[in-house]
């Protein structure tokens, strides 16, 4: 039974460019909802099934990570950042380590550089795997989730063996990596890569070629190149709209300038393009790993550093390409043992800001395709 108070007439309909004849239906998607994959709260104004407006409400998982970092030493704060984008925890740590090394003007050994890149790419594969499964689940296909987790599990095992943890690895330290590689590492990565190459084709068979899937994603949630730039969309979301934004190519760090890989660019800007970019990125990550896995140089895995790190007075910024886009770390140092101020630039926040623009006029079912291909990780948006 519908009470009057719930159906409200709003001015937003006229603002959204519709005829204001119908009544708007406001629904709350989240903070607990199967499709938000976290505590994201979207206030959606609907007209029938058509989305008129989306307002993301944040703050349900705000932990003041940036403020916490100010009271932790340069060695300690890296570990907190694993809890931001927990699916690419490794790459977050990498960004912080890079920033501190920049401040200390530290040269890190070649072996550590290669290990870092290998770990980054494995993390990227694991993250895209989870995205693939979760996105298919948003679209109503449950089985891909299990297929994706089967492969992701072997990456987690590799991580566990070398880093001692499966999700929040905390493996990167200023000056290199925390431990040397496990003796099994190369063997296991190689067998994983061999297995994985055939599995990507299986993913295509199961989801990409499906006519229902293509109808659900093609032409849905189109983000033009200009809009992608103005919203600051990076990563696969930006590249699907034709924006060249791969930090690994634009501002190469570690050994990314020495390995051979392509930056995947699609121009359609719809959900299907975002899907294609991520699937092709999986193959590129495999390519990077294949080039490096046999060429890990001998030597130290960590540069010699002082027990207590002190960054010189000044401001430092470093950026890396996480699985979701550009991750920036901005440190203001007063010369002490803890940062004076830290700001993280997270890819998810900017990508989420484009959601309203992309979904207006779509059906509520499209919202799941759009959110799924934005690949939102809520603790990354809401730090």
């Amino acid at each position: 039974m519908y009470r009057e108070t719930q159906i409200i007439e709003t001015d937003n309909i006229a603002a959204a460019g519709a005829d204001a004849a119908g009544a708007a239906l406001v629904i709350n998607v989240g903070p607990q909802h199967p499709a938000t994959h976290g505590v994201l709260h979207l206030v959606i104004t609907l007209e029938g099934e058509t989305i008129k407006k989306i307002e993301p409400h944040l703050g349900y998982i705000h932990r003041s990570i940036e403020k916490m970092c100010e009271s932790l030493s340069y060695r300690q704060f890296i570990y907190v950042t694993s809890r931001m984008d927990y699916l690419s925890a490794h790459i977050n740590n990498h960004a912080c380590a890079l920033c501190i090394e920049k401040g200390l003007q530290l040269e890190i050994p070649g072996r550590a550089q290669v290990i870092r890149v290998l770990m980054d790419e494995l993390t990227r594969i694991a993250s895209h795997e989870l995205w693939w499964g979760a996105m298919a689940m948003d679209l109503g296909a449950f089985t891909p989730f299990f297929y994706a987790f089967r492969e992701r599990e072997s990456i987690n095992d590799i991580m566990e063996e070398t880093c001692g943890a499966r999700l929040t690895m905390n493996y990167m330290v200023p000056g290199g990596v925390m431990y040397d590689l496990h003796p099994n590492f190369q063997k296991r990565v190689k067998s994983f890569i061999q297995l994985f190459n055939s599995k990507i084709d299986e993913y295509d068979d199961l989801v990409t070629g499906n006519i229902i899937f293509q109808n659900r994603t093609k032409g849905v949630g189109v983000l033009s190149r200009e809009d992608a730039i103005s919203f600051g969309c990076t990563g696969p979301v930006g590249r699907a709209s034709g924006v060249t934004c791969d930090i690994r190519k634009l501002y190469p760090y570690e050994v990314y300038d020495k390995v051979d890989f392509d930056e995947i660019i699609e121009t359609a800007g719809d959900s299907y393009a975002r899907y294609q970019v991520r699937l092709k990125e999986l193959r590129q990550s495999v390519r990077i790993i294949e080039q490096l896995i046999d060429n890990i140089p001998e030597g130290d895995f960590q540069a010699k550093t002082k027990a207590v790190l002190k960054l010189p007075k000044g401001e430092f910024y470093s950026r890396v390409e996480t699985a979701r886009g550009e991750m920036g770390v901005y440190i203001v140092s007063e010369g002490g043992t803890t940062p004076y101020r830290i700001k993280f630039r997270s890819p998810g926040f900017s990508n989420l800001s484009a959601l309203d623009h992309m979904s207006r006029g779509s059906k509520i079912g499209d919202l799941m395709a759009i959110m799924g291909t934005l690949d939102l990780v809520i603790p990354d948006i809401d730090r």
Binding site: M1, T143, F146, N215
Partner: protein
């Protein structure tokens, strides 16, 4: 030979010889009612377990394997849990309609069981308009779903119910048209007559390609009518949390859940009856030996085998396909399935008139 037909006949004879006709009829009704309720419980348990096992198989996992040998008692344990749970009625809900809705859905499902022939001579009510009765009663379940969505006072439920209404009403057309094509071939609406007409071969094979098209359309349409993936928009877990039954808990939820599986069983039973010959064994031309062996298999097994084959097909859909969007769902029906099945009906009529079928 011991068969279900002889058992039912001897029970009937005993009833009519012991009691007066009115009393015997009442007793028969009571027995049938108990049997139907028992069938519901058993089907619910079996189909839910089957779905979970099929899903597990497709998703490279084991599925329920803890309660009872190989997990076969899992659904019984789940039912027990649901019975223990409190059936909440949300604030602001229309209590009467809210509580009535699951029973409406359930009653609609129960009524359709009447004309289905489970085995040779084992049928509750061989009404002469059997097929018409089935299509008429099966559309009643939409009332229950709309009622649930409206009465829940929940926006997700309302959206789910609206979707479901549009969907069931649309897909009934193509389901009806493909049913009619078999009626045209048979020349009868009576279920037993339709089965008997398939003695020499099933309509799926005898009606040339148009019958196969009708069968495919029938399967698609009934998948949509029972709100199963890829047409499960009324529930659409990732969009509407659980659609029309979001607010239901405990046994009221269980009734919706059960009705969904019973509906699957019923539509598959009808599909098996119309296209695959019901309880008729498989006969191939003049292979006498083969046909003779096939005749030895009990008719109830034939019926259940065909039905469960179709059920497996529908479960297979669910664990393979992504969900359609609501506008795509409706355009699939109105732009493709309906024109195709109308044209197909013309072809079948032509075949029937000219006597071109085998």
């Amino acid at each position: 030979m011991l068969s279900l037909e002889t058992i039912t006949n001897s029970i009937q004879q005993w009833l009519y010889s012991t009691f007066n006709p009115t009393m015997a009829l009442i007793l028969e009704c009571v027995i049938v009612m108990l049997l139907v309720i028992g069938l519901f419980a058993v089907l619910g348990l079996v189909l839910v377990l089957m779905e979970r096992k099929v899903a597990a198989r497709m998703q490279i996992r084991l599925g329920p394997n803890r309660v009872g040998p190989k997990g076969i008692l899992q659904t019984a344990a789940d039912t027990l849990k649901l019975m223990m749970k409190e059936g909440l009625t949300p604030n602001g809900a229309d209590k009467f309609l809210f509580n009535l809705a699951p029973f409406m859905v359930m009653i609609a499902a129960m009524l359709i069981l009447a004309p289905i022939a489970f085995a040779k001579g084992f049928q509750i009510w061989d009404i002469n308009i059997g097929v018409l009765y089935v299509s008429a009663v099966s559309s009643m379940s939409v009332i229950g779903i709309l009622m649930a969505g409206w009465a829940s006072n929940n926006k997700y439920s309302l959206l789910g119910a609206m979707r479901s209404g549009a969907q069931i009403v649309s897909y009934e057309l193509s389901a009806g048209l493909s049913i009619i094509s078999i009626v045209v071939l048979t020349g009868s609406l009576q279920i037993s007559a339709i089965i008997h007409s398939q003695q020499s071969g099933w309509w799926l094979f005898r009606g040339h390609i148009p019958a196969m098209i009708a069968f495919v359309i029938f399967i698609i349409a009934v998948t949509a009518e029972t709100n199963r993936a890829p047409f499960d928009l009324a529930e659409a877990e990732s969009e509407l949390t659980a659609g029309f039954h979001t607010e239901y808990s405990g046994m009221k939820f269980a009734l919706f859940f059960l009705a969904e599986y019973i509906n699957i069983f019923i539509v598959c039973a009808i599909g098996a009856t119309l296209f695959l010959g019901g309880w008729m064994p498989l006969h191939i031309g003049n292979w006498e030996g083969f046909n003779h062996i096939m005749d030895k298999i009990p008719s109830s097994l034939w019926f259940l085998g065909k039905t469960f084959l179709l059920i497996f097909l529908i479960m297979w859909f669910r664990w393979t396909f992504p969900r359609l969007r609501v506008d795509q769902l409706l355009s699939l029906e109105w732009k493709y399935l309906l024109p195709i099945s109308m044209f197909n009906l013309l072809l079948i009529t032509l075949i029937a008139i000219m006597g071109w079928h085998f």
